[in-house]
Symmetry: C2
Subunit: 345 residues, 2 copies
């Protein structure tokens, strides 16, 4: 038995190759592998010290063949390390996918990859032909769509960091009397975090009634229930009241077309005190609309799941806020894929 030819590296070439196309064809397996990894709690298993396929398989109650192939795949994907057939957690996985980590978002892949959402991209050609979601008339925007209760329960861990960034940006702890309206409050963490930073803050949260149950639970757990009031219903229909210092619009405007956003922003403007601020947390691509990648790709999620939503650029937000009467609209970059738009009355 001899190996008559040594292994040769394919010579790098500037010729087109189908490799990138194959990667894209099979990219859906990346999503499946990450989802399977979190469902099997593979990242926690490895974080606990199980390193070889047999030990990991025992801990995850799975087959050794399956674990070995999944671990190799997740290593190639950058979430695991491998040395001498032993696996470890890459830093991102140790921080965000090991359930023992305080920053764990291990439930997120399972939620974001529910068929209720992924089915929106099952026949994307039809979506592109029609120019809108084919899920239903309203996409995910129907009254009390249960997906938003799931969202509120699953996305909260991810939002803690963003909420702290907003509290810092608004210098929440330096404010005296402070009246905050939290539109599309979801889990409520944005308003609740401002209330935790400022004992004088009063929060009014708007969302569907079923979703507000989650926000109220979180407000009670944070010990600020006495300063937390809810307004159930559509943000377009409920009466906000007036005299707000801050109106939070977190991950909300992207669901709608620009005229609809302007209609809402006029209502927000009316509810603010003079000098008050509207604060939007958003995916804001650069003007080229192809960078940075996560913010720019967010348009696709809006195409698949809404009738007319989009990821808007800073100039588009400037236009919308200006048309609604605001005097300034500034963009603040954050060390996360989203940015903050602050508009002043």
């Amino acid at each position: 038995m001899s190996s008559s030819h040594p292994v040769q590296q394919a010579t790098p070439s500037s010729q087109p190759t189908p490799e990138r196309i194959f990667e894209l064809i099979n990219a859906y397996q990346d999503s499946a592998a990450l989802k399977a990894g979190t469902e099997l709690d593979l990242f926690t298993a490895i974080g606990e010290g199980n390193q070889d396929p047999a030990s990991i398989a025992r801990r995850c109650k799975a087959s050794e063949r399956g674990i070995r192939i999944l671990c190799d795949y997740l290593t190639i994907a950058g979430l695991l390390t491998k040395k001498d057939s032993r696996y470890g957690l890459a830093p991102d996985a140790a921080m965000f996918l090991d359930r023992r980590s305080p920053a764990s978002m291990a439930s997120l892949p399972g939620f974001l990859l529910l068929p209720a959402l992924t089915n929106a991209f099952q026949d994307l050609a039809t979506v592109v032909r029609k120019g809108r979601t084919v899920m239903s008339d309203a996409g995910t925007l129907g009254p009390e769509d249960p997906i938003w209760v799931e969202f509120a329960r699953n996305m909260a861990p991810l939002m803690t960091f963003s909420a702290e960034l907003i509290a810092d940006l608004l210098k929440a702890s330096e404010r005296k009397k402070w009246k905050v309206l939290d539109i599309a409050a979801s889990h409520g963490l944005f308003g609740i975090t401002l209330a935790r930073h400022n004992p004088n803050a009063e929060i009014v949260a708007v969302d569907w009634a079923n979703v507000l149950q989650v926000a109220k639970e979180n407000a009670a757990a944070a010990g600020i229930a006495g300063r937390y009031r809810t307004l159930p219903g559509s943000a377009f229909d409920v009466d906000y009241g007036a005299g707000y210092d801050v109106v939070l619009l977190t991950n909300f405007l992207h669901h709608f077309d620009m005229p609809t956003c302007e209609t809402l922003l006029r209502k927000v403007y009316a509810a603010l005190s003079p000098g008050g601020r509207a604060v939007a947390l958003e995916f804001v691509p650069n003007e080229d609309r192809i960078s940075p990648p996560i913010a720019a790709k967010f348009s696709m999620i809006m195409l698949g799941t809404t009738p007319s939503g989009d990821a808007y650029t800073h100039s588009q937000y400037q236009s919308m806020f200006r048309n609604a009467g605001f005097k300034s609209c500034a963009l603040h970059s954050l060390p996360i894929p989203e940015q903050i738009v602050v508009a002043e009355k």
Copy 2:
């Protein structure tokens, strides 16, 4: 209206971020976008000179909103270029996705992303638990599974280049009398290409009867039907005959476990003349099993779609061929994701 804060770049940081995890969660949209692009014939439309969203939308009979978002997405994915709101084809897309290109494989994403295949990864956690496909007992390996007729019809364009590489490697045109057995012939292109290079070659093709219809059509179209014979049935069961100079095993061994491969290779060995060669086209990862990425990730496709297949390393092929009696087993690298294993009797 003023923009009081300039846009700041987020400072690069060595801290873990959830960005890679988000990319992986949403990776399934990469597959959906490529599939939609080919189904709408977007790449041909742009190749023909349609550059702005309105023109492309007219040509693809699609909405402008959908086309604009899809084109931005495919630009981020590296298949399109964008300048001043006008799109162009990146080199890989011009070569492989514009239907007017001789190397077009524009039908491939639609085929490889058929639900019949992608459903195998719908519940990957269960697959990993069981360590085998959950599609059915045999996965895609049941007798006359219609997927292989589709495979033969759709994958041929991609295989032309590999077939030429094999013909070169075997110096096909220099051979006198030449008897070639093409196991799992599929579209037949590997054997047919050898026959085109060598007018003395006789090809015997093995595959399911329904698949061999495609191979026979292709042999007739290539003008070599008179030197093309077929043996319908399972490669494990049919009588190959004897006296072969070459036995082709293209994209076949990876479907089975090592003992099953060895059983087949013993049969191949018996059918070869002394000095004859078995030639396998395969995804062969390095011994670390995590590089190069396309070959190493191929294990996952075998986990999802077969009871016990795998992407084998060179040392595993050496072990299998040696156990089957072969005297050498050499690996030849190609400028494609697959490599060629040549074993001599």
